[in-house]
Symmetry: C2
Subunit: 337 residues, 2 copies
């Protein structure tokens, strides 16, 4: 690791001029520029971005915070972000919070010292506080799947309402009328509320009365799906289930398997988010293109990092991923404001 100091010694040019060359300052004669450039070549010199960041207050690194690295949802979005960033000088780095506040606090401490060029928080839980802090630190930020009041911040979100509306509609297309819904907890998040609403309206729009007793609020995890499945399968009139998210759907299928029931054969199940093309085989789904969401978030962030002072915008992605083996539905495309 050679330094500016060494280059100075080799070339006989002052450190400042070396710095000028590195930073493409116009005020350097062609002669000295050549000289320095050659020395840089020879010594394999790379400027130390850390030392630089202490002065400039900017590190060319974008921090991506995910709630759970094992979750396809996050991982796929990260891929989109990285795709866009890989064409730039910014380096994406991922931090996995595991929805853990303590970890997020530690992260925040770190973030204050590293002067990240930008940050994309995707952790469902604490992101409001996180967002606040990053905003106060004046570091460019784009929220993903987190709509804040009055949209003070840039955000890219999926149309949750449309996802569940579509997922429910697919079930109806498949001939179902009595469709149970697995919703979020009592104190519903925005996403859970919107998804439930989509289910309700899809049912109504198709003239199917809503039976409140087969709308089940629960945690958004596998055990919840499993537990509720026990209830649901007692009611022989229910032929299909629409689950808030993939995990709940997986829980349902888990229980179904235990009692010898096959999805698509004995019942239909859908969820309101995109799932990995690798895994999804018996779960109907509708959702936005996660990678595209990531890409858009990165593009928005890029603009901000370049200094754009436009007022914050929220981009909503409509449903472009629909999977229903019974109708062989195809994917659509589209992006919505």
């Amino acid at each position: 690791m050679s330094t500016i100091k060494e280059l100075s010694a080799i070339t006989g040019v002052s450190k400042s001029t070396i710095s000028r060359v590195i930073n493409n300052d116009a005020n350097v004669s062609e002669k000295t520029r050549r000289l320095v450039l050659d020395a840089i070549q020879e010594t394999n010199y790379t400027p130390n971005i850390i030392a630089r960041s202490m002065i400039t207050g900017k590190l060319p690194i974008v921090l991506i915070i995910v709630g759970d690295i094992l979750n396809y949802h996050f991982a796929k979005t990260v891929v989109g972000i990285e795709k866009v960033l890989s064409d730039t000088d910014y380096m994406p780095v991922v931090f996995n919070s595991m929805y853990n506040e303590e970890k997020e606090q530690k992260l925040l401490d770190m973030a204050k010292q590293f002067k990240f060029a930008g940050v994309i928080p995707m952790t469902a839980t604490g992101s409001s506080q996180l967002a606040r802090v990053f905003h106060d630190m004046d570091i460019p930020m784009v929220l993903v799947n987190k709509k804040m009041k009055r949209s003070e911040f840039d955000a890219v979100i999926a149309d949750e309402y449309e996802a569940s509306y579509t997922a429910t509609s697919e079930l109806i297309k498949n001939g179902h009328k009595r469709i149970a819904y697995l919703s979020g907890q009592n104190a519903k998040s925005r996403i859970s509320r919107e998804r439930e609403q989509g289910y309700r309206e899809a049912m109504e729009d198709h003239g199917i009365p809503i039976d409140e007793s087969i709308i089940y609020p629960a945690f958004l995890d596998i055990p919840s799906g499993y537990r509720i499945a026990k209830e649901i399968f007692k009611d022989k009139s229910i032929t299909a289930i629409c689950a808030n998210n993939y995990l709940m759907a997986a829980g349902v299928n888990q229980y179904a398997a235990e009692i010898g029931k096959q999805p698509l054969a004995d019942y239909d199940i859908a969820c309101c988010e995109s799932i990995s093309e690798i895994y999804a085989k018996d779960i109907i789904y509708a959702g936005s293109d996660l990678q595209q969401i990531g890409e858009t978030a990165a593009e928005l962030l890029l603009k901000r990092m370049k200094g754009s002072k436009e007022s914050p915008q929220t981009i909503t992605f409509s449903v472009t991923q629909v999977f229903n083996p019974k109708t062989a539905d195809n994917k659509k495309t589209g992006r919505k404001r």
Copy 2:
């Protein structure tokens, strides 16, 4: 963000002494220590690890390099690493190389400037070169699933031979005799070689002759599995398939679904690695505990970062995760040197 300088101004104590207090130096009187500590409390001061790293040459951050963040294999291992590290002052940060050399090069440049406390490279492809560089930079490192010659480095690996031996044996237990094997490419990696060997020996140990014509070398991805499945299903005598990895198995299932065949019903398929408990339903598998591998890697790294100069060791994990719905096999436990 208060600084040491501010603290000095507030307390009237010199910067050096403040530094001493922060670093728990014994040579500070109780009185001044109290004074400084109080000021730290009040100002909410946190030492800047970056500035510190410029002098000490150590940043309390552990770099985890994965080849593909979407891959359960990597993600699950990361979770293990993070679990161990979360009890320490080290902060794990993930970099996703996407098996891309260019990205890895960029990463290397960055790594030289950040003085990471430790690194865990898990990227299948370039990790040999990466390992070399990190080793030369004298930064503590633990390799995961990469066995290097003469074990110059610490490493934690899964017993690939045992995984495929077990996976194949499960298929045999299920009554199969004519079992196709989906192997790695011609220039096989160590892992592919060991897995193929496990298949061969399991077959032999059960007195089943090996038919070289149904051992298919290919890329380790979904399209390969899909393509080969076309061949395999032409041969009605083949009743089961053992795939090198999950992706190939998924590819097989994909084609099977298209021609109306059901895994577990019409054929059995197994793969030689652990899969997410969420997704695995119709694929038999045998593999090591990935999270445990991550935890062990982190523990090893922790020792090195504390300065241990023991000679490098390689820890091999035996198969503890076996899934076979037809026999309801249970998980075993164990760790092997």
